[in-house]
């Protein structure tokens, strides 16, 4: 069993509205799994089913090979998109309470909280009320509470919203560290640059259906078009340009560069190798810039959603 979490043909209806339609995902152990999709695609419903907040109408969910049961609550840490804390409760008390709800003993929770408070340098907040903290500060508490009980599975729904870039980075590093310590992370977001940075697997939901999933690199490989972005310099740029246009499919390209005359996206045949293109180009002009165009997660996201 290499998958920590397996959802098999999960469906969920709310009245006449189908929120999830036969969705299956498999989250490998120790991976960071991006659950992507436009608003209303069913991401939150799926996450709530994994958290046993709602029950699926059909299908099953296995955690570590076992069907979900109440005891699994302590194995999961969940940071919902709609999140908050009791405003008039003190930070320390509140963190202890939430940790105890996850099944930790008070003493254990206390010592673990101390560790985290020191780590994030917020030790003096213990007796403050949440309403005295800023939004970003409260989010830090929220993050600590989510990971405090060392869950096997961490679920973050838009974790970076409300953080300034510095704290977002801090949290990102913490997530990566938790992954390295053995936790598996499900990561739901619209922010594709963070998907690019963090996720190794993704699943894309659209209108209640899963329309794409797999390793991020494999998917990128499928979506690559053998296109190269090149920047050339030549005394006779018009002639070179025409020559290239005769041999390859080209599109204009825009990128920042100091002194290139010709900026192009050049597509080559699947059978051709990049070296062939490169040697051809070097024979004609001076090459300043040569990069394979790999589709970003963002491009894949938009393209797939549009096609469906």
């Amino acid at each position: 069993m290499n998958d920590l979490l397996v959802a098999d043909s999960v469906s969920k209806n709310f009245g006449n509205f189908k929120a999830l339609n036969q969705v299956s995902i498999a989250v490998p152990k120790g991976s960071i799994f991006g659950l992507l999709g436009p608003n209303g695609a069913g991401k939150t419903t799926l996450i709530r089913i994994i958290n046993q907040i709602t029950m699926p109408d059909e299908g099953s969910v296995l955690l570590d090979g076992q069907p979900l049961k109440p005891e699994h609550i302590k194995d999961i840490g969940y940071l919902p998109e709609e999140r908050g804390l009791y405003k008039s409760m003190k930070v320390g008390e509140q963190a202890l309470y939430l940790a105890q709800l996850k099944g930790m003993s008070k003493a254990e929770a206390k010592s673990r909280l101390k560790y985290w408070f020191e780590k994030l340098e917020i030790g003096d907040w213990w007796n403050k009320k949440i309403q005295e903290l800023s939004k970003g500060q409260a989010q830090k508490i929220q993050f600590i509470v989510t990971v405090l009980h060392k869950p096997k599975l961490l679920i973050f729904d838009e974790p970076f919203s409300g953080f300034d870039p510095i704290n977002a980075n801090l949290i990102k590093d913490e997530i990566l560290q938790l992954r390295d310590e053995g936790a598996t992370v499900i990561f739901s977001t619209h922010r594709m640059e963070s998907v690019e940075e963090l996720c190794d697997h993704i699943a894309l939901l659209h209108k209640s259906n899963k329309i794409l999933d797999g390793k991020l690199n494999d998917i990128k490989g499928q979506y690559k078009t053998n296109t190269f972005e090149v920047g050339l310099q030549s005394n006779n740029s018009t002639a070179v340009l025409n020559e290239i246009k005769d041999r390859f499919e080209v599109l204009p390209a825009t990128f920042k560069n100091l002194h290139d005359d010709i900026k192009l996206n050049i597509k080559i045949n699947e059978s051709a190798s990049s070296n062939d293109l490169l040697s051809f180009l070097t024979s004609k002009a001076e090459v300043h810039h040569f990069v394979e165009v790999i589709p970003s997660a963002n491009d894949i996201f938009i393209q797939t959603v549009k096609n469906n």
């Binding site: 709310f14 009245g15 709530r48 958290n51 046993q52 907040i53 709602t54 109440p70 005891e71 609550i73 302590k74 999961i76 969940y78 940071l79 919902p80 709609e82 999140r83 908050g84 804390l85 009791y86 405003k87 008039s88 409760m89 309470y97 939430l98 105890q100 709800l101 996850k102 099944g103 929220q142 509470v145």
Partner: protein
Amino acid sequence: MNHLPLIIKREYLTKVKNRSFIVMTFLSPLIMIALIAVVAYLSQLNNDKQRTISVLDETGFFNDVFQNTENTTYTSLNELNLDDAIALVKEKEDYGLLHIAKIDSIDAISNNVKFYSEESPSLSIMSSLERKIEKRVQEMKLKKEGVSLAQIEASTINLDISQESFDGEKTSKEGNVVKLIFGGVAGYLLFMFIIIYGNMIMRSVIEEKTSRIIEVIISSVKPVQLMLGKIIGTSLAGITQFAIWVVLGGVLMVVVSAILGIDLAQLQTPQQEMVTQAMEAEGAQAIAENIFIEITNLPILNLVFAFIFFFVGGYLLYSSLYAAIGAAVDNETDTQQFMLPILMPLILAVYVGVFTVIEDPHGTVSTVFSFIPLTSPVVMLMRIPFGVPLWQQGLSLILLIGTFMFAVWFAAKIYRVGILMYGKKPTYKELFKWLKY
């Protein structure tokens, strides 16, 4: 995992440590007592006012009728004529002038008595004057018929019908009053408790929604557990508050009345008045004995158990509905449309209790309403001191518990769906749909 104790503890402590809760707990009895003291003080002031009433009695029949009392002085102006008397009274700024015109026969009295005053006189003074004159006229008439004063006095008796049920249980008028007070207090207590703490539960559910913590919580605990924890925790806080109110109120009452020298017992409610009137008729000691007997005669054991069961049952039933409302809406202003269906039966129950149970505790209306679950706790609590067959209490309780379970199921459904719904105010139709999710 059973987190109920943990949730109850948190709910209780947050409520009890809340600043406005603490302020209310200690301020309310102070305000209440201050209010009572002020009212008592003012009414005493009013009673202390000295008045002089001048009397011009041209018949001479009523000379010795108007005896000075603590607050009222009567001066006789019999030597003056009416105009002079009025002028004099006006000048002296007396309260008023009672004029009894010269009449030939005592029978003609009714149209010949007048009261002149600056402002219209108080009702109690007028009726006291009327009673004095009536009594004298009656005596004179009887005398004319040849009945002596001694005979008249001998002829008045005081009758108190003694009551006994078919089972041989003795009751009395004071007994009914005692029962009314017991039932009334129990019913009213429940009513207040539901309104105050039901609202508190509702607000605390809404708070969890507006602070958006709810999803964090229910990823750890079952919504039903959270709801029950809230209800129980808030109720315990309520009981704490109530207990403090009772103790503090009692102590303050004693202290304040000692300091101000106000006899608070003199403040009379209509029910107390009934008791005092009965006392006047019968002699205080006998009454006190009667009341004591009545209290011991009350089905105490039944009363205590019924109070606990109906109070808890009724309270839980209503508070789960309050919790459901809290879950269905986003903020307190949206609660109005759902509050009415809850308040209606509650208010109805109190009205039935106050108007019907007093009149006829075992009549059809009282009986029916003591079975309908939403009204039964209040009405039944008011009926029980008058003796309700155990099978009726049992049946009503079973209905209540059944409805309570249904309400918890219903509330849990609404709660489970509602706490995760943000942004729009649901209609009844949508609530109904939620039940099927």
